[in-house]
């Protein structure tokens, strides 16, 4: 169903390589063309919040760089050479072999090669991520499920342990900050989080503990659902799917109450924690009220979201639910599976009937530009990728990059998750506007 894309904002299944890079001490091995690894590193990392290669990404990526010979005669021998070398050269706890278009098309039996290494004791798995198979979000799920399927074994349940499956690493520039925010918030409820990606994760040890968790928490639009279902089949772990970004005073508390229930945690402790967090959040909300009420010039009254449904719905509930802005249009750009479209429409509509704005599922820059041109004098606030800067200038609208590709911002540990995430987002939006008007 994939369409022609002007200025694409997500990439191909092999982009899942970045999810391997995001697992501490995990080593991706690309059985693909010579340029795939670097292209995906720049598109999802360097020029998307300027996220660098860290331990095993960027120039450290291992690859078979298949050429004409491997296309014509098959690349399995080449793959063995590179895996042998990797196991000796690359200091890692987990090796993930990823197929590219070329090797998938010519039908290399990669699974067989990789299974042999695993039988000899190497911590190595394989995921079929040929570029044409789907987006990098699909690639991310394929890799996660491959690790779950090929590496994990049943474990003793650990009480209060929650696996966290959130936004796709690197693709969402704020992925690492989100995970830290979830960890801190759930710690406030007395829960111990098991993070599978990012600086706070214990890498392979965290992955081995996955079956021991009492709950799988899926905090993203749709990625991670298939993993939760797989883990439920394998290890009977229940899961809670929270499809919208918990941001701001109302939504974050609603999320934490739902987690409290799903994880059977003591409600009293949660309420005390929520009160303290909400009190702090509203101290700053009150102090900014003068600005929202008395800033003399051109604050936009309408906004447009051009991102995935997780951020699109979350941010709408903050801006419309707490700050009184009016939605003009929503675009859902991460090509969610068809069966999720209905649920996503519901998630947007939850605000209130009159605040409903048209919702378009598209990832094509040309269509987004055309539909925004239907509102020539609304001068809205556009929250999307850096591609949207041109249409924003054309409509003399305000613009903040919050979605991939984010070529105009450096992201370190920043995140828009939770109570603090809302304060960060409001500071970023209105500082951008203030700087533009003077």
């Amino acid at each position: 169903m994939s369409t022609i894309l002007q200025h694409p904002r997500h990439l191909c299944a092999l982009g899942g390589q970045q999810s391997v890079v995001a697992i501490p001490r995990a080593i991706p091995i690309l059985h693909a063309g010579p340029g795939c690894g670097f292209k995906l590193h720049t598109g999802l990392g360097s020029y998307n919040g300027f996220q660098g290669g860290c331990y095993s990404g960027g120039a450290a990526l291992v690859g078979t760089n298949v050429g004409e010979k491997e296309i014509v005669f098959g690349g399995e021998q080449r793959l063995r050479e590179v895996i042998d070398g990797a196991l000796k050269v690359m200091d890692g706890d987990l090796y993930v072999v990823l197929s590219g278009c070329a090797t998938d098309l010519v039908g290399d039996d990669i699974e067989n090669v990789v299974t042999q290494y695993r039988r000899q004791g190497a911590p190595i798995v394989y995921a079929a991520t040929g570029g044409f198979r789907g987006s990098n979000l699909h690639g991310h799920e394929t890799i996660v499920n491959a690790i779950v399927d090929q590496l994990l074994t049943p474990q003793e349940k650990i009480s209060g342990l929650v696996n966290v499956w959130s936004t796709v690493p690197y693709y969402d520039p704020f992925w690492a900050g989100n995970l830290t925010a979830i960890q801190d918030l759930l710690a406030g409820l007395g829960l111990r989080t098991n993070l599978l990606f990012g600086p706070d994760s214990d890498g392979i040890d965290s992955w081995r503990r996955v079956p021991a968790a009492e709950l799988n928490l899926v905090v993203s639009s749709w990625t991670g659902l298939s993993t939760a279902k797989l883990l439920n089949e394998r290890y009977g772990t229940p899961w809670l799917h929270w499809p919208t970004l918990p941001i701001g005073g109302k939504e974050t508390s609603r999320f934490l109450r739902a987690v409290t229930e799903a994880a059977h945690v003591d409600g009293q402790a949660t309420q005390a924690f929520l009160d303290r967090q909400e009190k702090r959040y509203h101290y700053y909300f009150e102090r900014a009220a003068d600005f929202f009420l008395e800033f003399r010039w051109d604050l936009p009254s309408h906004y447009v979201t051009v991102t995935d449904a997780f951020y699109g719905t979350g941010i709408s509930r903050l801006l419309s639910g707490e700050f009184g802005l009016l939605p003009l249009r929503h675009f859902v750009t991460d090509q969610p599976p068809l069966e999720q479209h209905e649920a996503i429409q519901q998630q947007f509509a939850v605000l209130s009937s009159e605040l409903n704005a048209p919702l378009t599922f598209t990832a094509d820059g040309d269509q987004i530009t055309a539909e925004l041109r239907e509102h020539p004098d609304s001068a809205p606030l556009i929250l999307g990728s850096a591609w949207e800067r041109d249409i924003a200038a054309e409509l003399s609208a305000c613009h903040l990059s919050i979605a991939s590709p984010m070529m105009d911002r450096l992201v370190a540990s920043g995140s828009y998750f939770g109570y603090n995430g809302a304060l960060r987002l409001i500071e970023d939006i209105y500082s951008m506007i203030l700087s533009a008007v003077q």
Partner: protein, 496 residues
């Protein structure tokens, strides 16, 4: 049918529209270790053979190089007939585009890039219908003066017939549309992508000359600023920097220039030779103007090709005198400092000359491939030979961005400075605590004044290595203890 025959057949099919890969056209290789002198010798004798590695790290492909050049033509569109992943470098090119526009006071706008986003179904039933839609969509959205359709591994392997779609669309839309055969798997030398792009420009854009402009010199460049006027205006010549930030109209008239010169012969070899072959525009053969000797030789050749012999000698003497005092200060400051270069060949060799002229002690280099010869075939163009004229014994390696080899090598020789040209390598070097200076504007060190500009930049970077020291203290390299104690090139196979 034997392997060679199959590959020959594919090449023949492409030769009508595509360009031959460098491995075959220029005998280029990606694996070598020895001395600079040896490499020059073997290449000159036509005996240079590839040494393949067993373990390799991911490199770059020709699609990256082709799209980089074509996406910066301000009134053209690039359609990548590929799955969405091949568009991973679109954001990078977009930032290059907007930054370069800002520097040249052009209105800042997103680059004009599309992908046909091929999926599983397309690999089975073919996707030419998608390419037709994409071409019409591009025409409607951008009203381009030309469209380039860049191929991919997938479009190559499933045998998409780009030419038939293109011919039909050209009739209908009345603008030149060119296929670019930069399928990733075809060549280990990503520079083949430049050749593919320039081949499409020569085939579909460049027009026979209406009216010669003998005082204009085509300079084939990346996205650096114009420091060439500083060298050419004083002797009555005007640089025409191509291809980035030009328009189709300007490219049509490439055939009218008095000569074509390089800032990096690895980049421009195919285009320059093509212009000389098809339109008689003479190619400046000597290595690009970096470092005192090469700048003299380059200027003299440009002068005598354009009848400016009289003005060039006094200009050379005046410039050399003007920079001498400050150059001496820099040479004293850098004397004894060990330097290493890791870059693409021709531009890497130019950096070697500049560093030696600035007084650095060059302890080695590792370039990302080596062309046994250039398209024009004239040995005077051998930039490696020029750069190591006085130091043929310099230890020299070739590796297509194999970070694990580079890190192993640099740990041993511990240079004081590494000049690195390609993205994503500087981090590995810095993690060793070694200052790594990234070449962002490739023209800054050019000509006589460039030596002083570049000295200033190096001094700044060397003065405060806090970032490298912090990284060395707080990060871990992804390589096993075992590997770091192996000989750096032990994964390199025998020459074949």
């Amino acid at each position: 049918m034997s392997v060679e025959q199959q590959i020959r057949q594919r090449d023949a099919a492409n030769s009508g529209t595509g360009v031959q890969i460098r491995e075959r056209r220029l005998g280029s290789i990606t694996g070598f270790v020895g001395t600079a002198g040896e490499l020059v010798q073997i290449a000159r004798a036509g005996e240079l053979a590839e040494r393949e590695r067993s373990f390799t790290q991911a490199g770059t492909c020709s699609s990256f190089c082709a799209t980089l050049q074509l996406s910066l033509i301000q009134d053209a569109v690039v359609i990548n007939h590929a799955p969405a992943g091949c568009a991973g470098d679109f954001p990078m090119f977009n930032l290059y585009n907007r930054y370069g526009q800002g520097k040249r006071n052009l209105a800042r706008q997103n680059a004009r890039l599309l992908t046909t986003n091929l999926n599983e179904q397309d690999t089975i039933f073919g996707a030419t219908h998608k390419l037709v839609d994409a071409i019409h969509k591009a025409f409607r959205a951008f009203q381009p003066k030309a469209i380039f359709v860049t191929a991919s591994c997938t479009s190559g392997i499933i045998g998409e017939d780009l030419e038939s779609v293109i011919e039909e669309a050209e009739q209908e839309l009345g603008i030149p549309i060119a296929s670019v055969n930069c399928e990733g798997f075809r060549s280990q030398i990503w520079a083949t992508g430049w050749d593919a792009a320039y081949n499409s420009i020569l085939r579909k854009i460049v027009r026979p000359p209406l009216q010669r402009q003998l005082d204009t010199i085509n300079i084939i460049t990346f996205i650096g600023d114009d420091y060439f006027s500083e060298l050419l205006q004083p002797i009555g010549l005007k640089p025409n920097l191509v291809v980035p930030f030009t328009g189709v109209k300007q490219l049509e008239r490439l055939s009218e220039a008095g000569a074509t010169a390089h800032m990096c012969s690895t980049l421009g070899t195919f285009l320059a030779a093509g212009l000389e072959r098809e339109y008689g525009v003479p190619e400046v053969k000597s290595p690009p103007p970096y470092g005192l000797d090469s700048t003299d030789r380059w200027l003299r050749e440009v002068a005598n090709l354009t009848g400016k012999g009289a003005q060039v000698e006094p200009f050379i003497a005046a410039e050399r005198a003007a920079i001498a005092p400050q150059l001496e200060i820099h040479r004293q400051r850098f004397a004894g400092r060990k330097a290493f270069v890791a870059a693409g060949p021709s531009h890497g060799h130019s950096s070697m000359e500049v560093l030696q002229d600035l007084g650095f002690d060059l302890v080695g280099s590792c370039m990302f491939h080596h062309d046994a010869r250039l398209d024009h075939g004239d040995p005077t163009g051998d930039s490696l030979q020029a750069a190591t004229r006085h130091t043929p014994g310099l230890s020299y390696g070739v590796c297509n961005k194999q970070a694990f080899e580079l890190v192993n090598l640099l740990r041993r020789i511990q240079p004081d400075l590494v000049v690195v040209r390609h993205p994503s390598l500087a981090l590995s070097i810095a993690k060793l605590g070694i200052p790594a200076v990234f070449v962002d504007d490739e023209h800054i060190a050019l000509g006589y004044r460039g030596l002083l500009r570049y000295a200033h930049k190096l001094a700044n970077w060397l003065a405060n290595p806090a970032l490298e020291r912090t990284l060395a203290r707080t990060t871990k390299l992804p390589y096993t203890h075992w590997w770091l104690n192996q000989p750096p090139f032990s994964m390199l196979g025998e020459p074949r």
